[in-house]
């Protein structure tokens, strides 16, 4: 017997939890302004997240999935994407949308149960996909389209550790490998699928190693280290443009509940989550920015005030929006509503009128 495939799984970290650069070689080339922008985006995302939970508790929006703790994985990867690249999110990637330039009001609107907030086409963020992992084939297919069109663009498929148990994940990875799709598979391993910890989700040591089975590169990064996430995504995108897809596993931790309908204390000791707080992504990055004098306390205050205003503005704009016309629950079924459905259209209008 001989070894015919000695698989290696690499791990990337640039910035450790104390805010120290531990790997100068892989430090991405980012200007001071860009570094500050990353900080601003993570803080914006966390503030947005807190506001959303608060709005949900007050009944002003409905079910919401928190991204608390995953800011680096989302902001870092989305910041690496180019204008023509497109993100295929699950239901937790609000920071991806914000980083790409989506307005908070759109995301609030979606969580008030309004389809108009689902897609941010102007910034190339596709609609959230609720069935876990079912969006991964879409990212593979979009990457296949870019390959066919010979476009310098890539699709980034976002998903969590739970998705990697689904056939969708494996079929998508396999198609992407076979067809040289311009795709980056970005897994946020937040270590929980609702209540199921990663150790019970898979017997594999890493998710990154699953890439090997599909003939593509797999890498695990410290998902709470925004510099590592940015670097890994940037490199993966460059490869994707050439038809070489990559699986990136961002090892992070879901500090919050699964959604606002969940209570994690039922299955996870609060002390356990507490332990992970010291690894969370924003404070380490702030320490680094302060230490290197890229950011000052005064600037930080200014950024926080600006974010507060932006979110307040977002809530105001969102709550000022009028509902869409009731007949639009059927008007977007097809490009042209078949004659067969016109009586239902009339019935809907009538029923909405009577309900008023």
């Amino acid at each position: 017997m001989k070894v015919i495939n000695g698989c290696e799984v690499t791990y990337l970290q640039v910035l450790d939890e104390t805010g120290k650069i531990v790997n100068k070689k892989d430090m991405p080339k980012l200007s001071k302004e860009e570094l500050k922008k990353l900080y601003y985006l993570m803080l914006l995302s966390r503030t947005f997240d807190g506001e959303s939970i608060s709005l949900q508790r007050q009944g002003r929006i409905y079910t919401y999935a928190s991204l608390y703790g995953q800011e680096a994985a989302q902001v870092g990867s989305a910041f690496a994407m180019g204008k023509d690249d497109i993100a295929f999110p699950s239901f937790r990637e609000h920071a991806v949308a914000l980083t790409r330039g989506a307005k908070p009001e759109g995301i609030f609107l979606y969580h008030k149960g309004d389809e108009r907030g689902a897609v941010s086409k102007e910034v190339n963020v596709f609609s959230p996909s609720i069935p876990v992992g079912s969006q991964i084939p879409h990212a593979a297919g979009a990457g296949m389209a870019f390959a066919y069109q010979k476009k310098k663009a890539a699709a980034v498929g976002y998903f969590g550790d739970g998705s990697t148990s689904k056939g969708d994940f494996h079929e998508a990875m396999n198609f992407a490998g076979v067809f040289g799709a311009h795709t980056v598979f970005l897994c946020q391993n937040n270590q929980f699928a609702i209540s199921l910890p990663i150790a019970e989700q898979t017997e594999a040591q890493t998710i990154a190693q699953k890439a090997i089975a599909y003939g593509m590169k797999g890498i695990r990064v410290d998902g709470n280290d925004i510099l590592a996430v940015y670097k890994a995504t940037k490199d993966a995108l460059e490869d994707a443009y050439k038809g070489n897809p990559t699986l990136i596993e961002c090892l992070t931790y879901r500090l919050g509940d699964h959604t606002t309908s969940d209570d994690a204390s039922k299955y996870r000791k609060p002390e356990e989550a507490k332990k992970h707080e010291k690894f969370e992504p924003i404070s380490r990055f702030k320490k680094y920015l302060m230490k290197t004098k890229i950011l000052t306390e005064t600037e930080d205050k200014k950024i926080q005030e600006q974010i507060k205003k932006e979110i307040e503005e977002g809530v105001k704009n969102f709550e000022a929006m009028k509902p869409y016309p009731p007949e639009d629950i059927i008007n977007y079924l097809f490009e042209k509503l078949p004659d067969e459905l016109l009586p239902e259209l009339e019935e809907i209008k009538l029923s909405a009128g009577e309900a008023k």
Partner: protein, 324 residues
């Protein structure tokens, strides 16, 4: 005009459309060099290249899933799923995504996908190769389901399906893939989706069917020398209620024929619509000739399950003989 069977006609439709529209790509198992298990895509890989006629890995859900990604990025994928039983594997992506993306995105994205798949029994195939699952798809809002009854119909309906900006499930009755030859134009033409065809006019009864059983239905009517109006639905979703109701109002008697099981089948929906819009025109209870509500038997008893012109003729005679 060339004499074509249904395989030739579908191949011709694909060829016509691919020649005119570079955004069309074909994706399916063994559809490239092999030309598909029924040879429907024969020659297309050679003509248009392997990057447009893609032999896919063996994963039906994956085929459907990646097609959605391709479609929202501007391509028009035409998929081939090898057999009806396996088309069920695509249901998750069809139901949860393809049918909803236009609605979910308020029209910013849409899914111009045509899923082609053989349907029905009659070729003594293995289990899962002789199924009639059209109702599963027809029940989904946002999905059109088309089942042609012969070569000429197949080509025109397929071109309409490909040009449709929304997802269409196009089931091809495999029993008549090579059984019927008709004169079919070599150039492209369309037959509108959602419109049934009155194949034969008549006054004393309406027979409604689609797909492969149109042929036996006409034979049964001929043998009985009955004055029956025969409707080929062509599209089972959306259903052309108007054509059905107009006919029933004229004839007052109805037989509905389909191979799929009776329970909650297309016939049940047609009867409900007649009940809503032509109840007082009925002169006799409506009769259904359908598959049994059991698993499609393997080849040894396939014939027992399948319809035939005798079963159809019996139903026609019964409905015609009922006194008002």
């Amino acid at each position: 005009m060339t004499e074509m069977n249904m395989v030739d006609a579908i191949n011709s439709a694909l060829d016509n459309e691919m020649a005119n529209d570079k955004s069309i790509v074909l994706l399916g198992e063994d559809i490239g060099e092999d030309g598909g298990v029924f040879r429907v895509t024969d020659g297309l890989a050679k003509k248009y290249g392997n990057n447009r006629v893609m032999d896919s890995p063996l994963a039906e859900a994956g085929i459907m899933g990646v097609s959605i990604g391709m479609a929202v990025m501007g391509l028009k994928p035409i998929l081939e799923i090898q057999f009806d039983g396996f088309s069920i594997t695509t249901l998750d992506q069809v139901y949860n995504h393809a049918s909803r993306i236009r609605n979910r995105s308020r029209g910013l994205y849409h899914c111009p996908i045509t899923l082609r798949c053989p349907i029905g029994g009659g070729i003594r195939a293995l289990e899962h190769h002789s199924e009639s699952p059209e109702t599963f798809f027809a029940h989904i809002p946002g999905i059109k389901v088309v089942i042609p009854s012969g070569p000429y119909e197949a080509k025109g309906l397929l071109i309409s399906s490909i040009r449709d900006p929304d997802p269409v499930i196009f089931y091809e009755p495999k029993r008549i893939y090579r059984a019927i030859k008709e004169d079919v134009p070599e150039t492209a033409y369309t037959i509108p989706l959602g419109k049934a065809k009155v194949v034969r006019e008549g006054n004393s009864m309406t027979l409604i069917t689609y797909g492969s059983w149109l042929r036996e239905s006409l034979e049964a009517v001929d043998e009985l020398k009955a004055d029956v109006e025969v409707i080929d639905l062509r599209t089972i979703s959306p259903l052309d209620t108007e054509t059905i109701i107009n006919s029933v109002k004229k004839t007052g008697r109805v037989v509905i024929v389909h191979e799929a099981p009776k329970n909650l089948g297309v016939a049940a929906e047609i009867i409900a619509r007649i009940n809503e819009s032509a109840f007082y025109s009925l002169e006799a209870p409506i009769e259904r000739v359908t598959g049994y509500d059991t698993i499609m038997p393997l080849a040894s008893y396939e014939k027992l399950y399948l319809l035939n012109k005798e079963k159809i003729g019996k139903a026609i005679t019964k409905v015609l003989s009922i006194k008002e």
